[in-house]
Amino acid sequence: MLQHFGKFVLFITSLFSRGESPRILFNRTIDEAILIGINSIFIVAIVATFIGAVTCVQIAYNLNNAFIPRSTIGFMVREMTILELAPTITSIVLAGKVGSSIAGGLGTMQITEQVDALEVMGINSASYLVLPKIVAALLVFPMLVILSMFLSIAGGYVAGTLSGELTAQEYITGIRDEFISYNVVFALIKSFVFAFLISSISSYRGYFTSGGALEVGAASTTAVTNSIIAILIADFVLAQVLL
């Protein structure tokens, strides 16, 4: 465990030594941002919309009390979405999709000697391959989390009104009630931290793959597992520190 941590720190440090020109890194970052961002929109949208819808329906089911206004359902959907569901669930979904893709891609490059080919050319392979992925994730994850927030709240609206649990007016009143803008900032901070954890852990696992196709699969699985565990630990620590 400690050995892995030390190796991980050295790996992250190596990203910043003898890097390529900013123009090349910029172009690579844009390419990676498109790969990570555009390709994840669909799954993030589906997950966020349905989580918002399910949250709304389940809160309505549990909040069956005449003394509690129905607008509370909208309020709770918003709070849960912004504080936890959008940043954390989206990141867990992205850990599965983006994390496995990063680890699998780098692992395949490693076992097919493409990484060695870069090194022989005098290129810092870690910096060239990994740094743009991390920067792209830092750029794109907050955007996906914001999209997830909107869609989750919208999903709650559609589910709540269509199922007749509450009116559109009650839901809108609820989601506008006692809005704390810091919660959005907190969610964005979480998304930055999770983006770094997912992209760096997955890159680390993929970059140090050795062996064959079986090991690439194992690296992908480990990358996802480790990323999810890191997300959950970081989620708790951030909630303790920042709230």
């Binding site: 003898r18 097919t112 493409q114 022989v120 050319m121 005098g122």
Partner: protein
Amino acid sequence: MIEIHNIHKSFAGKKVLDGVSGIFETGKTNLLLGASGTGKSVLLKCIVGLVKPDLGSVTFDGTYFTNNKLDIRQEIRRKIGMLFQGSALFDSMNVEENIDFPLKMLTDMSRSERLDRVNFCLQRVGLENANRKMPSELSGGMKKRVGIARAIAPHCTYLFCDEPNSGLDPQTSIKIDELIKEITEEYNITTIIVTHDMNSVIEIGDKIMFLYQGKKLWEGTNNEIMDSDVRELNEFIFANRLMRNAKQVEDEEREEQQQEQEKQKQL
């Protein structure tokens, strides 16, 4: 010229290279020969700096490489072209982008200059009009050719080939060997080839270093290798029936020649 001196390397306590020294000459195809697991590829990786030797040094044209300053090592590495066993073409790039990659990363050439160079290299390896093909669309031999084109694109001074014939049919193997030899002589570069293919040894082995259990056991040319008296080398060479037959025919021819010469002397 590349000079290696007393290279040692162990992995997890197992000695892979045990004090290998030698000189690889410029303009010649230098072969590292040996059975699987004798440390040929590890030695090649030690030379190019992908693996750090435990002990020993590598010198490129008089410039010390191992453990030298990073910028000097980088400078040398930029003169190195390498053909990997599996070609190591970048999957996400087409043929043109693969060959253009080192030019874009290592040179200040303009886009049109780079394209000219890519087309020249493709033509040199006999793959004109393959620019837009993806690596997955290429045969094994074509991948090797693209690998060679990528290696020579930035005007490399040193060319390293790790088993360039692996997975290829005999005809394609010979073509790849000939291509490597032609390029070596044409551009006067130092080429080191890791191989266990005896065809390559006979066809293009200007200088051969035989490794056995991590040690250099024999060094010579392709003309000398058949007459070596090193038991391990002979076992390696004549493990193949074709080579045994070839040796038998050669011996018989030599014997006949000697007999004729003796007859002529008697007359």
